[in-house]
Point group: C2
Chain length 106, copies 2
DNA sequence: TATAAGTGCAATTATCCGGTTTCGCAATTT
DNA sequence: AAATTGCGAAACCGGATAATTGCACTTATA
């Protein structure tokens, strides 16, 4: 029943996106994270589990606390997927640029 | 009716991501798109409906055919969301860069 | 040692999602 | 006019999801 998750599914949930942003700069415990949302600690824990399955977070155990932090490098996968589209919209921008240049010549 | 969808949910499904890539450069009909997948035309139609709800595709009616094309600009929304993380990983790269520079000084 | 705090896991439930099948409608072809 | 083609909508189904609740385990504190 361990479903194969990927990073795109991970960021589909708005709460998960908020968590990702929250722990991007500094590690946080599940309890501390849960305080930022209108949901239970267990629900946050589940989200963290999903993020961990996608290797999007790292865990640092300190006594009975567990500090979660975003593995920022993993986010580059989204960036890489976007690359194909970025090429297109940049090309179109260039074309528009050239068109404007031609119009100015006349 | 369901205004509950956003672009992140749209790209969560792998088939939808493939459709997006397929119609990024040129408009295609549902039938033509469906030929690229191991699924029915109706299923593709459902995906296109979801993409349309997110304003990710444009429709051009030609007789009884409907040509769908990706609204590439909408993809920039993902890019904008990534911006916050791009800053972080670029900063870390800079730090690493400076660290390497210092090490070479000695 | 007894209690409290921090956490993960299991069971439950209501909802959502993606697919198929069937159907109806409009545009084209014969 | 009749048959075909292209399409979306509705009904349905099995599996996935997200949230809650209850519990068990470990670590810290009284």
């Amino acid at each position: 029943m361990e479903m194969r998750r990927d990073i795109f599914q991970a960021i589909a949930d708005p709460t998960r996106r908020a968590i990702i942003a929250l722990i991007a700069l500094q590690a946080m415990t599940p309890n501390a994270i849960a305080e930022h949302f209108d949901t239970s600690r267990q629900a946050v824990s589940k989200h963290l589990r999903i993020l961990a399955e996608c290797e999007l977070v790292s865990q640092a155990h300190k006594g009975r606390e567990i500090h979660y932090q975003l593995k920022i490098d993993k986010m580059k996968e989204i960036d890489q997927w976007l690359e194909q589209f970025r090429k297109i919209w940049e090309d179109r921008f260039d074309n528009l640029d050239q068109l404007l240049a031609k119009m100015q010549e006349k």
